[in-house]
Symmetry: C2
Subunit: 192 residues, 2 copies
DNA sequence: TTTTCCATGTAACTCGTTACATGATTTC
DNA sequence: GAAATCATGTAACGAGTTACATGGAAAA
């Protein structure tokens, strides 16, 4: 259960879809975020089904090859939110996991999202403390630059989160139309 | 030829070493940076040898099992600097590659290092331009937060690089004793 | 009519990790 | 005497990518 599961579940959260259209969407819109390949997505969807997180049914038509349409289950929804929280709070992983989590942050209630961002900021501050307090000679020598850079990036993310939170307090998000990820899915996977 | 090659070549640059001590050093000091496992390092060292980037000779003793001591070759040194430049300039990779490259930045002449950092900053600014200029609705919706965060991090790194360069101009690095990575290697891999 | 798109699937391959094997030598 | 350290190696496994197979439908 890693960030790719989060991505797939998230894409299925609003719209039931078949594998092809999911792959299409990922390749066209999320290429720099995910890197997951077609074969992998198909395989993961099957795994999600055996875990009961999604449900598959075959849709046949005269116009196109049979599609395997996946629908998220209640268990899948629960797993999605668990993963979402996990990766919103994870400060160690590569940032593509964070990117995916942030993509779906608007699926949370406003309060919950803000609480998680605050908690993320807290964890980032912890890491800053750890890195910054360790005297330079305790690291392997030569690592100085790398540590300094990581510190700078961590601090920048804390500042960014505070910025986001400030903006949210100002205006309760006004629910910009077309602001949610799955709204676009219908547009890209039209029937032909 | 990825960042793990850079790491191994870098560790061999000053000190010839056998695989065990390299693994030891990575595990004890670079655990959060590399994650490379013992078996992998042994295999990569063999590969580096077949490529002529390092040279192996067996060192036997009564006190310990035979060691395979690896020494970097001129071709290896060239490859090291090529990789170092590559990963210092790479703004797309996961940041562990950048961390490793920064660890070895002090192997470059001062001018060269600064030039590469300047070029890195330039490339970061390019990415900022790309990301920032694309209007919000051109991304997949919902991606806003992720893009904003990435922008914030890119800008922070540019600022950090400028900071480093400013500091270097002030004092030409004063060659702090014990500031180079390999100085520590002798201390950790003593004979017993 | 040839090519491209749809939609899934699989077999072969690469790569890295895990876990174990080895055998001598210190340490407890 | 048992356990850990030294130093390398390998066999089995899992995960993911590549590249191809399929076959009908629409577009050129």
């Amino acid at each position: 259960m890693d960030e790719r599961h989060l991505l797939l579940l998230g894409l299925l959260l609003n719209q039931s879809q078949h594998g092809y259209s999911i792959n299409e969407f990922i390749e066209k819109n999320l290429g720099h975020v995910s890197g997951m390949k077609r074969a992998t997505a198909y395989a993961l969807l099957e795994k999600l089904e055996t875990k009961g997180l999604v449900q598959m049914e075959t849709e046949t038509s005269a116009n196109y090859p049979p599609r395997k349409v996946y629908t998220i289950t209640p268990a899948g929804r629960a797993a999605f939110f668990a993963l979402l929280q996990q990766y919103l709070l994870a400060t160690g992983e590569g940032s593509s996991a964070t990117d995916i989590a942030l993509m779906f942050a608007d699926r949370l209630e406003h309060d919950r999202a803000e609480a998680l961002l605050r908690e993320r900021a807290a964890r980032l501050r912890e890491r800053i403390k750890e890195l910054g307090s360790t005297p330079a000679h305790a690291h392997a020598p030569g690592v100085d630059l790398a540590v300094q850079r990581k510190l700078a990036l961590l601090k920048a993310e804390v500042a960014w989160i505070q910025d986001v939170l400030r903006r949210r307090e100002g205006g309760p998000a006004a629910a910009t139309p077309g602001n949610r990820l799955t709204d676009a899915i219908g547009e890209t996977s039209e029937q032909r």
